[in-house]
Amino acid sequence: MKFGVVIFPGSNCDYDTYFVLKDVFDQETTFLWHKEHSLHDVDCVVLPGGFSYGDYLRSGAIAKFSPLMQEVKEFADKGGLVLGICNGFQVLLELELLPGAMTRNKNLKFLCQHVHLRTENTHTPFTNRARKGDVIKIPIAHFDGNYFVEPETLHTIKQNDQIIFRYSEPNGHLSERANVNGSMHNIAGLINTGGNVLGMMPHPERASEAILGSKDGRIIFESIIHWLR
């Protein structure tokens, strides 16, 4: 099993993600430069956090035109596993691999803090080691995480069980207070209809070792590894 971590100019969680996969989980992992035309036979592509192309135009808007992203789109269309974290999620939205768009956080602040997420659907390659309703503590670090989608699409993604994580209180209760960035329906993580592409604003790679204050992010990587095994 092989993981590929994409690097765009401006990615800044690429090494953290690589470290977690390679050193914490002992998985074969390779970097994929955005100008490449091959995914080098990886089984799972991770789009890391950061500010690809300086977030010019819109977050993730320029990255979607990278040669490598055309490969990623094809890989995803064939059922390959793709995980987009933070800026990676924004790129997946711009690529239309996931529905909706991000706007500026409701309080217009860059938010860098731990949040609690309620796990909504565990029948996925990314959450199969979790239990429905599990609350995990993972940090966010973003300016544009205010998820927006048209009401009809929201209805569809709810019906399809595509919402994977929602911002909640530590006890799992959903509230406006917990919904720090103002996302529609407290959405923090979303999957495509094929079930093979997950985008999430919180950073599981920053919550994979006890020394960093939480190991709750491990469940996502453990699930992927279990799924691919």
Binding site: G100, T103, N107, G182
Partner: protein, 80 residues
């Protein structure tokens, strides 16, 4: 040819930045300001093409790149 493209949020999308600017203006005493929507302006210089051709290319560029049609709308005018 020069074209100016204006990209702004759709009416159904909240614009917290526009709201913040409006609140600042109210604080300064401009109470008559009812609403502000913030957007982006692109000035595009094109090699000489016909107006028809511009009317074909500009919406395409705007839809593909300049605006995200899920949250934004655009309008344009040929200025030169």
């Amino acid at each position: 040819m020069k074209v100016r493209v204006l990209v702004s949020f759709k009416d159904s999308v909240l614009d917290p930045q526009g709201q913040a600017v409006k609140n600042a203006l109210h604080t300064l005493g401009y109470g008559g300001v009812i609403d502000i929507r913030q957007g982006k302006v692109f000035e595009i210089e094109l090699e000489d093409i016909s107006v028809e051709e511009a009317n074909r290319i500009i919406p395409e560029i705007s839809d593909k790149v300049l605006a995200n049609p899920i949250i934004e709308k655009f309008e344009y005018q040929i200025i030169e």
